[in-house]
Structure formats: C-alpha cells, structure tokens
Symmetry: D3
Subunit: 334 residues, 6 copies
C-alpha cells in the first residue's frame, strides 16, 4: 500500500515589495506562500515523494489561492476549514548592509484558533509512514502546543517515523509558557532532528564546548533526546558581509558525516534555506540513501535555495545534483 | 484661529490582483489604502480643507506605509498607536458579468481592539469645527459603538457640526446588537447625513412611498432625526449591465436640490463613489457654498471616482468642475 | 472504486503581449497554458470532479512549467514524455475594431509526433468512466487521427461514456485527408457532443433549415450520429460590435432545453468560452443533474469565461452560480 | 533613381502613467515617441514607402533612444544635432467621463531653437519627391515659421509634391503672431491638405454652411488655396459618450469621395488618429491609387489607430485592409 | 513657539529605466523625485524634525505629483508657483563595469527663471531656526546666485543657523562666472559645512597635505571660512571595483570625530549618499546631540542609502541605528 | 561605391523569465532577439559600419517583431521568407550558485529548412566587402552545412574578406556528420577567426602545450588554416565563483597583441560576450585600426556586455571607450 509523508504546520501568505523596495516605497506586493512545513512538503513532492500537508485555513478565495500554490508543485493538501484568518507576514527584503525585515501578521489565523481534539489524527495519519513538525506550532499558543502533542502521540502509536526542526522564533512564545517548558517533552517523540546550537541552549540549556562545537552539540543533544536516531545541523562562517561559508553536518549512530563546504555569495533570498536543507535530508532518509549522500544533497539544497526567490525551494533533484557537481560555479547548462 | 475637519474610522489596507485577474491567477497584489472616512479626508484635503484623520494602528512599517499614503494627499494623521493588526481587505475586481469580490480580513485590527475611554476626545477634537463618522465603526463591536458615542457626545458638547454616512455593511454587526438597536441613538447627534433608502429601512424601519421615493425618504428621515439640517442621497438607475444613470439629491430646509443626471459607462472601479460624493458635499457645506452648487459638485465627485482606481478620489477641484462642464464627455484637455 | 474523467489532446503554451499590445510593441509576453481538452480538465477539477489529462510532452523545464500549471487547479497529468516540442501559439489580443490574431507554432510538438500504438489506451483508461476528445487532434496528422480512433475503440470497448467537441480549425487539416473523410467515423463513438452549425456542414454536409436552425441542426445531427444521447450548441447573436447575445441549447431524448440568454459586453478574452461551456456541461451530465440545470450552468460558464484572462476557466461553481442568480449584472460581492 | 517622402517636424517624447492612472498615482511612466510628422513617417514606412524624417535633436542617449524608436519601423532619420532639449509631453490618459490631459514640456527643444538658414533644404530634399509638414511647426516661434517657409520654397522650387495638415494647437501660437497671419501664406505652397472645419475658420475666417458642411468647407478651402489638388477631412458624430461615428471625406477635382462610416467604441487611445489617417492618405496618393480606395484606406487607418496604444499607427497594410473587410467587427484571425 | 528647518533648492524629477536597462532598451521609466536639498528635507522629516522645503515649480499636474512625493514623507512644501519647467534628469543606472549615466534636462526650470527679489525671504524664513542650501543653486545662473545671497543675508540677519553642502557640479557653472568667483562669498555665511577635498581646491584653491589629508583639509577650510563652527567630510577608499571603504569625519572646535569605517558592497544606488549623510548630520546637530554620535549616525545614513533605490533616504532612525549596531552585516530582523 | 559587412546565420527569439525567476515560477517572459551573427550585426551597426544580416524567417507577425528589433539598431535585414518556424530558445538565467539553463526550441526553423541553392549568394553578396559566419549554421543539418559552403565559395570568388567564429554547440551536430568532418573544410575560406582552445581540439584535433597555451594554440591554428591572417581568443581565469579575470589576445603576422586584463564581477548576463568581442574586433579590423587598439576595444566590448541584459551589445563606441579609460571602475558619468 502506498505510503506518504505527512507534515503539519501553519500556512502563511508572504507579501514582499518587489525589487528590494522598502515597504514605504511599494505600490505592489509580490505574493508568495510559505510556512516551514509547507516549504518542506513542496521540496519532497518535487523530489518525487508523496507529501500530505495538514493545516487549517478559512474557506475563502485567498485560501484557495494558497492551496493552488502548493498543488502546483504536487503537494496533497489536507485542509481543515475553520473560521479565522490566513496567517500572513510582510517581508521587506534586505539589500547590502540593510537588513531584511519581517512584520508578522499571523495572529488569529485559523490554525492558531484550533481547539485540542479538533483535528482527528488517527484519520489524518492513516496513510503516512513519516510525520514532520517544527517548533513554530507549539510556539503559537497553549492549544497548538497541545495539538502538536496529540499529533506526536498518534504518530508514535502508529510507529510512524517522526522528524522535527527546532525552528525557534523569538517573536512567538508569548502565551505564558516558555519554550523550555514545552519543547523537551515534544521532542522526545522524534527520530530525526534538525538542530542548531543557539536553540539547543534555549530548549535544553545545553552548553557545548566551543572548541569542538559540532561534535559536542550532537553528543549533548543525544543525551537529552535519547530516542533520536539522526541529527543534522548547518554551520555558517561569515567570511565577509556578502560571503558565507556554509557546511552541513549529520550525526547518525555515533558517526558524523560532513558535506563539502560552499562559499555562498550574491544571495537572492535569505529565507527558507533551512527548510530546503530539511526537505533534502528527509527525502534522502525516507528513501534510505547513504548518510554521506544525504548530507551532501541536503546541503546543496540549502545552497541552491539562496538563489531562488520565494519560500519554496522549487529546484529539481537534477538541479540540486548539478550544484553538487559544479561545486556552485554557476556555469550555464545548454 | 485655524479650524479643521476631523474624521474618525478604521483605516484599511486594500490588496487587489492587477488587471482584473482573479486572486487564484495573481502573483502580485496592488496596494491601496482605504476606509470610508479616510477616503473623505483625502478628498477634503485635496479640495483645500484641512482634514485630520483619527484612527488606531499598530506601530510597524506597514502602518508607516499607510500613514504616508494619506500624508501624500495632505491629510493630517492623528494616530493612536496600539497593538493589533492593520485592518485589511482583499478585493478581486469584477469584469463584465463577473462580480467584484471582497474578502474582509479586518478582524483584530488595532481600532477594533480600542477600549472605551482610551481615546481622549476632548483633546482630539480641540481644534475641530466639523466631525465626520460613519455606520461602519459602531458595526465592528460593542466597544467601537461606545467609542463612537463618546466622540459624538464630545463633539456635540463643543458645538461642532457633525456629519455621518449610513454606510451599512451586512457582513459586520456580528457582536450581538443589531444596527437598529445602535444606530438611531448615534444618529441623533448628526447635522448632515448621507443616507440611502435600503439602510433607512434597516436602521429606522422607514418605509417610503415608492411613487415618490426621494422626497418621501427625506421626509421620513427628518421625522426620525429631527436634528438633521441637511440630508443627501444618490440614486442609480441601471439602464443596462454596463450603463448606469446616476443622480444626486440634497434636502435642506424643506427644499430638495437635484443634480444633473450622468450616464456612467466604462467603470474603472466600483468602490469609493459614495465617499467621493460625501467628500465633495462636506467640502461645499463646510465652505458655505449654495446647496445647488453643493449637490452638483458632490455628484460630479461621485461620477469621476468611477474612472479612478483605488479607494481615494485623487481628482482635483478643477478636474471635478471639468466633469460638470463637459457633462462627462471625456474630451482631451490639451 | 473511484472513477474519473479522462481527456486527451494537445497541450499548448500560449504567449500573449500584455495589455492589448501588438506583437511588434511588446517586450514581454504573458505565459498561459491551453488546449481545448486541458481547459475542460481544469474546469472539471475546479468543479470537484477528478480529471486526468493525457498528452505527450518533451521532458524539459518548459513542460514542467506547463504540468505545474494544470496541477495548480487539481488536474491529474498523465504525461507521455517524448522528444519533440511544446506546441505553442502566439495570441495578439484584439481591441475595439482591431481583431485578435493567432500565430500557431504547434508543428513538431511531441503529441503530433506520436506513432499509432505508442499510447497504451487499455492502461491509460483503466480508471476512467468518461472520456473526452475533440476534432483538433485528428486534424493534426494521419497518426493523431489513428491514435484518436485507438482511444475511442478502447473507451467504447470498456463501456466508457464518450464526449466530443467538433472544434474545427481551418488552419489544420493539411495532411491530405479532409475533415469530412475522417471525422464522421470517429464521431460514431460519441455519446455527448458539443456541435455548431458551420462545422456540422463541413463534417457531415448537413444543411439545416435557417428558419428553425437549432432544432433542425439537432435533428440532422441525430440522424447522422444515431448513437448520440445528448447534443449541445451555443448561439451568438451579434447585436453590435461590442455586444453579443449568447444562449445555450441542449438536446436530449427529443427534448430541447434552452438557457436564459445573456447579453455579453466588455469582453476581457474571446478565447476558451466553448471549452468553459463544455466543462460545465460535462460536469453536470457526469453528476447526473437535470438537463435544464446542465444547460443553464454550462451557458453561465461560457458567459463568465468572457471575463477571465487566459484559456482556463478558473471560476468556481459558486461563482458560476452567482452569474446565474445575478443574471450577469456584475454587482460586488462583499 | 529611388525617390522618397520627406517629413519635417518636432519629435516628442511622450510619457504616460500606465493603466489609466493619474499622474499623482504613478510610479512609472510609459515611454512613447511622437510628433505628428513622425507618426506619419512611421505609417508610410510600414506601408512600404521610403520615408525620411527631418528634425533637430540634442546629441544624447535620450535622442538615441528616440531615433531607434523610429528606425525600428524603418524610418530613415535625418537628424540635425543641436543643443537644446528633447521636446516632451506628459499624457494622462482619460477613462470614462474623466478627460485625458496633456502637459506640454516642449519649450527650448532643439528644433524650437533652430535659426533661419540653419537647415540646408537644398541638400535635405535632394532625394525627395514628396514633402510633408504641419501647422504645429510654425506655431512654435517666429524662427520655426520662417524655417517652414524656407522648406516650402525649396520644395516648390524642386517641383516636389507638398502635403500639409492644419494641426492647430491652441496652447501654441504664443510668440506674437497669430495663426491667421502666418498660416495662409505657408499653405499656398500645398498640393494636398488635411483640413478640419474649426481650424479653417481660424486660419482663413471661412464660415461654411452648416446644412452642407463638408461640401461647403471643401468649396471655400479651394477658393482660398487655389493651388490645392486634394483636400481631406474626417467627421465625427458623437452618438454617446462612448460611441463615435467616424467618416472620411476626400475632395479632388470637384468630386467628393466618402468612406463607409465606422462606429468606434472601446477606445484604447484617443491620440494620433488624424496622423494615422494622413499616413494612409499620403500612402495611397503617393502610389497613385484611386481616390475612393484612398479615402477608404485612410479612414480605416484612423479607425484602427483608436485600438493601438502609443502615437504611432503600427498596423500593417493587411491589418488595415482587414478592418475594411470586417467593417470593424473585431473577429479573431486564426 | 515651534521652529523648523528651511531648505532651498531646485526640485528635480528623475526618470530611470527599470532594472539597470540602458535607455535605448527601456519602454518604461521609473519616476523618482530628487534635488539635494529636498533629499535632506525628507531625511529630516522622517527623523522627526519639521522641515520646510522652499522651491519654485510650474503649476501643473507634474508638479502636483512631485509635491505629493515629498508630502508623503512629511515635508512641508513652500512652493513659489511660476511659469517654466519641472527640472528633470534621466539616470541610466550602471551595472558592474558599466558606469551610470546622467542626462540633465533641467534648463528653463521655474527655479532657474527666478528673478532677484522675487522670493520674499523675510516671510519665508520667519518660522525657521536653521537654513540649508548647497552649491548647486548658485551654479545655475547669475540670478540664482544672487537669490542664494539674498536668502543667506536674510537668514544671517535673523540669526538662523546656516548649513551648506559644497555640491560642485562640473556640468553647471556655464553662465560666465566661475565657482571660485561666486562660492567663497556665499560660504562666509555658513556655520555648518559638508565639504570634500576636490571641491575645496576648486572653490578656494586649497591644497591640503596628502599625507594628512583629512586634518589638513579641515584646517585649511577653517582658515578660509573662519565663521564655520562644524565641518564634515566622508572619505571613500575603493578596495576593488565592487567594494568601497566608507568613513565619516567631523571637525568641531579643533576636535576631529571619526566614524567606524564601513565596507560597502552590492550597491543598489550610487546617488544620494551625500545627502543622506547630510540629513543625518543636520538632524543630530539640530537636536544638539554629541559630535561622536552625530558623525556615527550621519555615516550610517550614508551607508544605508547605498541600499535604497531613489534619491530619498527613506530609512527610519531605528533602521539607521540598526546599521550602526549590526555594523552592516544585513541580518534579517524578525 | 558604398560597401558593407554581410552576416549570415539563424535568428532566434529568446524568452527569459524576469528577475532570475525559474521557468516554473514565471507568469511572463521577456522577449529578446538573438543569434550569434545577428548580435555582431547589431554591434557593427551601432559602431557605425553598415551591416546586412542574411537569414530565413517565416512571414508572420513574430518575424516582423524580430526584424524590427534589429532595425531598431540600424541593421539592414535581408530576409528570405520561407515556411517554417522562428527558431526559439528559452533561457532561465542563473543566480549565484544556480547555473543558467538553455532550452533550445530551434528545430524546424525556416533557416534549418533551407535547401542548397535556395539562397542566391551572388546577388546577396553583391554589395559586400566582408562576410561573417559561424560554426552554428553548419551544425544544424547537412543542408545548412552545404549552404554555408556555397556562401563561402561565393564570397571567396568575389575576394570578400571572410571572418568566422568557431562557436561550437554540443547540443547541435546531431545529423550524422561530426564537426570534425565538416568544419575544417569550411574554415579554410576564412581570413579572420575567433577561436578557443577546447573547440580547436574538437574541430582539428589540435593539442596545444598548456604551459604556453595562447601562443601554442595560435601557432597550431595557423598550421591547419594557413590562409588565416588574424586569429583572436579570449581567456577567462575564474578567481572565485563570482569573479573572473578576462583577457583578449590577437595574433597577426606572428605578433601577439594582448589586452589589459579585466576583473569581471556582478554579472548581469552571461550570454553574448563572445559576440560582443567579435563585433568590436571586426569593427576595428574592417576600419583598418591598429591591432593593439583592436584587441583592447574588442575585449572592452566583451567586458561591457556582461553588464547588459539581452543578447545584443547595445553599448556605443563612446561607452566601450569609457570602459577602457575607467578600467571597469563603474564611476557615474554626469
């Protein structure tokens, strides 16, 4: 029987002034659709995996546009229609020294208004053998934290592989509970994790040795989440304001796999590289490819996303592999 | 001492797919700024009156863009900064037989979250000799209805002239009180009113004689709002799907003044004609011009607005007067 | 077991200068995707039916863009990848007295290069209970005529309902056989037909009585295609250069059902109205709705398409029904 | 030896807000190139005649863009480089009842700064057998009036056919001489004239009989300009705000030739119809076609120009002939 | 009583081909508004100071658009309406090795046609306690040089603080007097100056010691303009074609204050950095902030302007301060 | 008698998603016109040489747009109209690490359908004293290889100077003959050649000494093509992913002339640099300028093309010379 990857999270409309304009200069806004888990669903679908995206939206023309935007890339939408808003964010992209700027307008989204028990996880996950979520959903409010737990319990009960992304957002977590109170319990359910050093400190109070940062972070994360089978991280070294060295790392069964490093310049878009990486990683792990292949592919996904506008990584597998072969030189393909 | 016209209402961001696209076809959205009272403030300012626009907005870059959009036309913004959202609506403009479509996304706007007593009307109105509001604000929730009353009481106490627009919105009035319970009390404070027959029935249960519709509506409105000095209405006769006859009427002191009728074809935008009319009317009354002149000018404002995209009537006084002289023939001005 | 509607035809890229420009004035071209059967597939999918679109395309990024364009609306693509081109047409849209202009660049498309026997119809139609095709495919060349016949034989053998659109194109039929030699045989397989008077003459030599045009055409078509269960036509009466009266007619079991007539003005796009009509008709017949309902809905689909840019009718069922209720007046939906 | 048509006049940059925006709403302006005589040169070149356009421009990148814009359509530029500006006009196009609006910014153009004797007409006209000018050039200042006379004298001396367009512009003629003092003398040199009733009154004090307007105007014009061989006029009857009846008339040798009348609706652009008409007329007369053919073709040129954005009539001969055959119905050409 | 900063200069329309196109490739032009003093007025207004901008413009729709462009940012326009043109410049922005290119079309602007005595400086400056001008105005012609002197005398008589920018333009100064004859006298009135080494040589014949360039230039400027209280400069060191080191310097009371140096890469716009710097500087000095703070803020204003398209620095105070804190790293603000 | 440069090759429509979008993200495509020899013809014409471009196209509106695109820059089109298509390519431009991607859709172009003997070379070349072709034309099919030979024989017989560009395209040469079988014979006719090391190996099996690459390649090319008078090459050293060192080399009469090296960063377009170089080279050689000047100018043409979007190098001679003077620093020209 055909199996698939289910993902759960908030779907967001992104509105961006064109051509690096500031908001106050703009007369039009570019529409993009986003959401960490939706971004990953799009990657998986493009890479050939069947992906089901579970979310809540109001039943209107704007949602319809959003649903069509994911269908375009082959994602299977599982929409729970509910009064409320389409979560939105405004993104003024940066230029040179000027930082990009996000204005969140995601309050009162349909997803954030969900009540515990409202989503029927038994049914939603009946055809899945992988489930992905991230730290954004429990950061919205107490109910979405509870619903995340419901989903994880249902997935675990079914023996479904669970992956997560730390995805800490400092502008969320405003509902009275700290991330440290909520996240460790939820993360116990996970088999595969995309982590980062700063968030590891926030969620678990982990303090890795800077002299041995990658290895020690992996070691400490495994200590606090003994159920984890695979952990991934990316590291950036900022060589100058416009040049980053970017490398991927994967821990599995006490081995660390490291990608070749990329020098990233001329960035078209700074958003969504982590989701692109995670999409590549899940794809490779879901299809049981070798770990070295997985980290190389995932890292190249992160690299190519810096060249693509919008939150989705719309590159094909062949295009990601070209990045790996060309080592990022950008030579024209005729 | 210099006096001015204050207006109070919700300021809205309007997002519209370009070139009559449907939302599902769009990749970009045009940004316009709107709100019945803001639209009137822009008209007044362009016509040379000093206009102060009182509203509540969150303190972010999006609000800043909105404030600059009214400043551009000379409106004096009086912003009460408050957490919440920028009220938004999506407008898919119609084409031919296909109707335009509005998706409201105005819930949880900063203005709708205002608490009674939060706005200091004594101070806000200290420099005003005219105050304008509309039926949209009390339709949002109980608090905005109370705040509307606070404003009206303060204005009345100061002897400020008060104008209102019925502005009934069927998609609002969801908070437990009907418009019939709320509006009659608020409208007692008004001196100048923009009315329409359908809403007169809803607010007051008035049932005018169809054989004598305009006159009888004026008569009945004066009965239920004895304080009214001036009442205006516009009437449309739809001659065909793409052609409307449009006429303005003004009642004052038992006289009825009627504008020349216009045949409106090739409509660029169906939104904001009422506000354009009211802007023209207030301008003429505020500057104590003859009533016949007032209704002719106001009606021409309504006519020209059908040719202007966006919610604001950005036409100048000279341009409105050209409409009156050309009788809508559209001959090029070299 | 879930059943679906399969459709077979050539998928076309349409390139159009923006804003009624002539080709010689253009610096950019708008991309649309088209093809009579693809247009219908999109309608069906939006209306809630499962639609599978069978075509041949080269395996490149342009095809990928085209496939994503139909996926966006929920169509299930069944692509036979094959060397050759993406069939293309350039469309300079008309304005006022200036006629629109089509430049076909569809030669050597992958579909036109198909060999008989290359498509495995047994397998392609295994999950279908309705099959749709049109007169465009056999007009391309001898092979596509043969392949059309293969498809029809396979569908008939499986007892699948077959619908067709006459779709005569005078610029095709260049391969040595006339439409009159080819089409009558293929149309014998059909149960449901979208016909028109001029093409009926070309395909069958039918010469209906002008005094009784609709009825007599239906009668004569039934004579030459005795297997037909349902026949539809639309009639346009051109009242002036910019105003058309448009009515739909349906024949079934010796009854004729007629839609309300629409007066169509302010046309945004003259292409695709027939496909929109056929999409509405198949939807209603597939779901076994009453014939009067079917012709009213199909005709309103044709009407609303005149207001939508691009070849696809992207309107929802509710929007089509609004046209029926508003009778094409175009009043804003708030 | 190959002969050609020379034209002399001011070349103008036209800047227009896109999509019927008002200037105050615009962030971008569309660039078009214009000038009555340049517009005619483009028409002639597209129709297959060799056209040389004589003007003065400053030597900069803006002029270079303007020259390339006429070269694009095959016109042969004869540029006299001279300090000064590129004459410019801003055109806010009208919509519905709102009139279009022209802001001239043509002062101090290189052409307007020309000194008598500066252009060497002997040499400029050495390869020409037709010369065209219009009433705009002598309206600029005393020098351009004198230079017009120099050109006419040189052309007359060479026996070149001379055509003219009245082209009265009320916003010009500011230099102390009235059009009545200047134009009659210059027009004595002309063989072919595009006239209109209102300007005939201004230039010559002619007062034709309204009951017999076309014929009487022709008669009176011939009286005051006895050298004229051919006179043309177009007449508009405004049936409603959005519908014009448009007819062309030609006088030659005491015969009047009249085109079929067109009903013009849905106007894309109100500028340049007269120049399109004149381009069609000169083309037919230059190639010695019958007068009835000439007036039909010229009138259809005027009609199709209403559907084309920008000052140039970029339609081909075949397209103009299609208008004549379709009688303006606008049916798609596949 | 409320005081404000008055600025005087020529207001310019800037027209730029989009997306680094060359003029000859463009079909549209982006509209920006500019003028050294207007740019500074916008900065001041955004930073919270009251700014009045004094200029002359013709009374037309184009001027109206320009005035609304400054009003948008809160500037108070003091327009002297006068026949003439809107000064214009065309800017083809550079890309990589290709230099940007300015075509001035500013002759015969209303401001350049001003007569001495025409502006009533007593009245214009009655509410000001700071006055800013630059070397562009006296470079236009003898009258604007005289008018600059009138303004300076009036300001000096009122005891208003006067700031100036050297702003030498080699393409101006064509009217018979050299900058060396005119500028020294005018600069004697100034209290605050933005200088640069090259212009110092031109205006005063100063020849600073290259080994000690900044200090020596300050010293020599103070010698020739003993009334100066504060002098500022920026220095660029071009590290490579696409990378500049940019540092600000301030002299006051024999102290030199130096900003942190910035490495500027990926430049969106090379125009207006000096005005952005001056806007930041005047803001800090007007509000009597410490000199080190002033030079850091002014320099960060110059830096952020390189990332903003158009002549105005539309960044807020908070955004400039973020540049100072992030040291130009461009990290996204969520 | 006036002489000119004739060029022969396939003219191509290029369609590119705007702003570095991927094809799957695009709703519009930018139209450019291209073809190696057409690109050179445009350069020559802009530099002041008379250029005639010989090609075959179908007779439709798309060809008309293409012809007008070369006429715009002054090229003299010599079009052989013939059924078939307009050769097309889709170009997804790269960004950062993401490579650009070309999808050819040039099959069945009118030029590729030409039969030997169909073009009348005697007549086509009667007014030429230079002829240019490239390795793309014989790569299309056996007929275009034969036609190339016909052209070369006719040119040689007339004593016309012949230039060629190796222009190897790996995606062509599919018709059964290898480039090694075809090209050496054709290249024997050439006097001036643009070569590159990799193609030299493919066409002639040449294997130059890497330690002395430029010199040895020149030496070996001269051995196999003894008729060559002048050979040119460009060399790129990729310093990093976004930075190239670019140098031009010219061999003539046993002398090697080398240009100053340029460091190319921030590339707007990677296509057409070779043609820009060749255009500059032919211009200088045709006008008998010194060889050092020729290689400097040609190399600067290649450099500036990296900053210009579209296949044509639209820069003027003055602009190329500015690159030479500024050494690529990009300083604004006021």
């Amino acid at each position: 029987m055909s199996k698939l990857i289910s993902l759960f999270g908030e779907y967001l409309l992104r509105l961006t002034p064109p051509q690096q304009q500031k908001m106050i200069q703009a007369d039009t806004l570019e529409m993009h659709w986003a959401g960490s888990e939706a971004n990953i669903a799009v990657s998986l679908s493009i890479f050939g995996d069947e992906a089901k995206y579970i979310t809540a939206l109001p039943d209107n023309e704007l949602s319809r546009a959003g649903i069509s935007a994911m269908r375009k890339y082959g994602v299977n939408p599982a929409i729970h229609y509910k009064d409320g808003r389409v979560g939105t964010y405004y993104y003024e992209s940066g230029q040179g020294a000027r930082p990009g700027k996000i204005i969140y307008d995601r309050q009162y989204s349909s997803l954030s208004l969900l009540q515990p028990g409202e989503l029927k996880w038994e049914e939603l996950l009946h055809d899945s053998d992988w489930f992905h979520w991230s730290g954004i959903t429990p950061a919205l409010n107490e109910n979405t934290a509870l619903i995340s737990k419901e989903a994880l319990q249902a997935a675990a009960a079914k023996g479904i592989t669970i992956s997560a992304d730390f995805n800490y957002r400092s502008t969320l977590w405003k509902y009275g509970k700290s991330c440290r109170e909520v996240m460790p319990e939820l993360l116990q359910y996970c088999n595969v994790l995309l982590a980062d050093v700063d968030t590891a400190k926030l969620y678990f109070g982990i303090d890795p040795d800077p002299a041995n940062l990658v290895e020690d972070t992996f070691r400490l994360l495994k200590q606090v989440m003994p159920g984890l089978g695979t952990i991934a991280m990316t590291m950036r070294v900022q060589e100058s304001a416009s040049s980053n060295q970017y490398t991927g790392y994967l821990w599995h069964d006490n081995e660390i796999y490291q990608s070749r490093p990329y020098n990233i310049q001329q960035i078209a878009e700074r958003i969504g590289a982590g989701d692109a990486f995670m999409g590549g990683l899940i794809h490779k792990l879901y299809n049981k490819q070798p770990f070295q292949d997985a980290i190389e592919f995932a890292t190249a996904c992160g690299v190519i996303k810096h060249s693509i506008t919008g939150d989705f990584n719309v590159a094909t597998k062949v295009e990601v592999e070209t990045i790996m072969q060309q080592k990022g030189s950008g030579k024209i393909i005729r």
